[in-house]
């Protein structure tokens, strides 16, 4: 009964809000419907509605999957410094980081589902009911770690929130090991995702030991960027308190990550261009394009320029410690990493293909619409869960508040009698 009332209360919370809130919901809803209509065409006709073909057999969907795994991983990796530096609202940082992680994991799984040719056969890769190729296939590993990670996060978040809701102290000896476990799990999901690509000798562009370390550093740029912005919004609109210093420290940690990422990338560039083997073709396509085909080069330069500007903004103390320039930097680095993971990581791996042939891939309208559907649905989910969390944490939505309300209601109802 309590649970039912809790759900009812949650429903009330997510359906109530100001004008801005409603227009946001409406906007997301329109995007979801528009995207879903595109995805429906893909379901009807097949993946031929995408621009992927045998030469470039993975594209925008798998790129988005990779990016979102990074966001999911990094949201929780922020717990490490929060724990070490003993930032004050650590519980809140953990909760919002993990909510972001939960939504990002769901979105990344959605991108896998829309990418496969027979989504209804998804159960074939599960253990027991299907024939999971464990431990041979890295994809089965990836599924395993993503699922574990998802489980840990959902348990921690619901436990913390539900205890707060029922006005009880949370079980520290249970939660602390779970939170600590979620950190290596976060590293694991992104490492295993990098291993998906990097151990394929057929694709020299990915076949570099630096791929997994590069993944982790980019994740440490994009994930905290989202959280920096989110914390400021929360600070403005709720009772959530976070000091400027904490935000600046996060930014400082991001600079280290960006610097290491830059260093890794330069190392990779140097090795490829100076040794100038036959594998240089992928890098040339990435940075210069082939003949008049510069589709990917545009994105990669946009990513490089945005990433480098963000690095400068974060590196210079005066711009790092100014919330306006800091936020510009956070947005820049987020989109820089998005383009890097979404477009310039996957596609040049297939261009030219293993037979040396060029097929110039850019996402089709259907692919973009499907991606918009997943991102909007993810944003909607994140909004709803965060709103409930905010209500519980800062607005006194609790078991007592519900009981009070029901007694008031009862009084009102009995009054006319």
């Amino acid at each position: 009964m309590n649970f039912l009332r809790f759900m009812l209360g949650c429903f009330k919370i997510i359906t109530r809000g100001g004008r801005i809130y409603y227009s946001c919901l409406f906007f997301l809803f329109i995007l979801i419907v528009w995207g879903a209509m595109g995805y429906y065409q893909q379901l009807q006709v097949g993946l031929i509605m995408t621009n992927m073909r045998d030469s470039v057999s993975w594209g925008f969907y798998i790129g988005n999957f990779t990016f979102l795994v990074g966001v999911a991983a990094a949201a929780v990796m922020l717990v490490i410094p929060a724990y070490i530096y003993d930032w004050k609202p650590i519980k809140e940082i953990v909760i919002f980081g993990e909510i972001l992680a939960i939504c990002a994991v769901i979105m990344s799984i959605c991108f896998i589902v829309v990418d496969i040719g027979n989504p209804l056969r998804f159960w074939h890769m599960l253990p027991f009911v299907g024939t999971m190729n464990f431990p041979d296939s890295i994809l089965s590993w990836d599924f395993f770690v993503l699922f574990t990670y998802f489980l840990i996060n959902i348990i921690v978040v619901t436990h913390l929130l539900y205890k707060q809701f029922s006005k009880k102290e949370y079980n520290k000896s249970f939660i602390l090991p779970m939170v600590l476990l979620s950190i290596p799990a976060a590293i694991a999901i992104h490492t295993v995702t990098a291993f998906l690509y990097n151990a394929l000798p057929a694709r020299p562009y990915w076949n570099s030991a630096l791929l997994a370390p590069r993944f982790l550093t980019t994740a440490f740029c994009s994930g905290p960027a989202v959280l920096i912005l989110l914390f400021q919004v929360l600070r403005k609109t709720t009772k959530f308190e976070i000091k400027d210093e904490v935000i600046f420290t996060i930014a400082e940690l991001m600079v280290y990550a960006m610097f290491i990422y830059l260093f890794f990338t330069i190392s990779e560039f140097f090795k490829e261009f100076y040794s100038n083997t036959e594998h240089i073709v992928y890098w040339k396509y990435l940075l210069l394009g082939v003949a008049k085909n510069r589709e990917i080069a545009v994105y990669s330069w946009a990513s490089i320029i945005m990433g480098f500007s963000a690095f400068l903004l974060f590196l210079i103390p005066r711009t790092r410690k100014n919330l306006v320039t800091l936020n510009i930097g956070a947005v820049l680095i987020y989109f820089s990493v998005y383009l890097e993971k979404g477009i310039t990581l996957i596609i040049p791996g297939f261009t030219p293909d293993v037979q040396g042939q060029y097929y110039f891939y850019v996402p089709s309208e259907i692919e973009i619409r499907t991606a918009v559907m997943i991102f909007s649905a993810g944003a909607l989910l994140f909004t709803f869960i965060s709103k409930i969390a905010i209500a519980i944490l800062f607005e006194g939505f609790s078991i007592e508040s519900l009981e009070k309300k029901s007694t008031i209601k009862l009084k009102n109802e009995t009054a006319p009698l």
């Binding site: 097949g46 045998d54 030469s55 990418d115 040719g117 027979n118 024939t131 296939s137 057929a202």
Partner: protein, 299 residues
């Protein structure tokens, strides 16, 4: 007390409602055959009787669909046979007759077009150099001055990475060395295509399309039976032919005799003669895939 019980049953019923609704909706959309197909397990894990049942149903289904008697074989590998292939680079003229014989024999989709064999045109003064290879050559007459031709199809690796990466074990190497796909088990993730260094795997991006009058009804479950949208397919050395003792279609059609095929375990086979007396090479040997498809220079 009574009232409570009543409440419970009603609640129980209400709880079950969505499940029932989803189940009913799902069922109304398909008949029992489709359901059986949906719940069919990995072909490799099935018993002989189950396989026979599936084959029987498939033959009936295809015969009805295409209006001619269909044979779907499930003949397993024969002990003592390991198939090997050799292709004479100095004789191949790049006529692509093998490509189209393969399409016809193996019921490859015409539109969207799928070719299991690709012929690469290369420049003589560069040797085997993919960066300067052209797959779309289209002159009046082949061979063209200054060029040689290298057909590429599944190399039937001894160490195939495509089967290792498959998350569902939908593709595997059979005992006679042929790498096969269970089209009913493949989820279409295309990880195998990313892993294959030869571009030998092809995906049904749309509904495959073979004209009814051109369909080959003599099929194998793991080979040329009609495929569906969203699954991966590949060269199987014409499993439906070679397991019956015939040559693959591409070997038979080749007008220059560039294509040789046989049992690697038989010391008197033609393929063993070539390995013994000609110098052979394997494509991308640095990747340690160990193909059973050899290239050689006959003249």
């Amino acid at each position: 007390m009574q009232k409570k019980d009543e409440n419970n049953t009603r609640r129980e019923f209400l709880k079950k409602l969505p499940v029932l609704a989803i189940g009913a909706a799902a069922l109304s959309g398909c008949n029992s055959e489709e359901l059986d197909e949906f719940f069919q397990q990995n072909f490799k894990t099935l018993s002989k009787a189950e396989k026979a049942e599936i084959i029987k149903n498939l033959e009936k289904k295809y015969s009805e669909k295409y209006g001619k008697e269909f044979k779907v074989s499930a003949k397993p590998a024969t002990e003592g046979i390991l198939f090997g292939y050799a292709l004479d680079l100095s004789r191949c003229i790049g006529c692509r007759k093998c490509v189209y014989a393969c399409v016809k024999e193996n019921n490859q989709s015409r539109d969207p077009q799928i070719h299991w064999i690709q012929v690469l045109q290369m420049e003589k003064n560069r040797g085997i150099d993919l960066a300067h290879a052209d797959i779309h050559y289209n002159p009046e007459q082949v061979p063209e001055e200054g060029h040689f031709y290298m057909p590429v199809q599944c190399q039937q690796c001894r160490n195939p990475q495509c089967t290792t990466v498959c998350p569902t074990k939908a593709t595997w190497q059979d005992e006679d060395g042929i790498v096969v796909v269970d089209y009913n088990w493949c989820i279409g993730c295309r990880y195998c295509m990313a892993a294959c260094p030869y571009g030998a795997r092809h995906f049904n991006w749309g509904e495959p399309n073979v004209p009814i009058e051109e369909i080959n009804p003599d099929t194998h479950y793991l080979g040329n039976r009609p495929r569906t949208n969203g699954v991966v397919e590949k060269c199987t050395f014409c499993i439906q032919r070679v397991r019956e003792g015939k040559y693959p279609a591409c070997v038979e059609i080749c007008p220059t005799g560039s294509r040789k095929f046989g049992n690697l375990l038989d010391p008197n086979s033609e393929i063993r003669y070539i390995l013994e007396n000609k110098r052979v090479l394997v494509f991308k040997e640095e990747l340690n895939t160990q193909p059973k498809f050899y290239y050689f220079f006959g003249v």
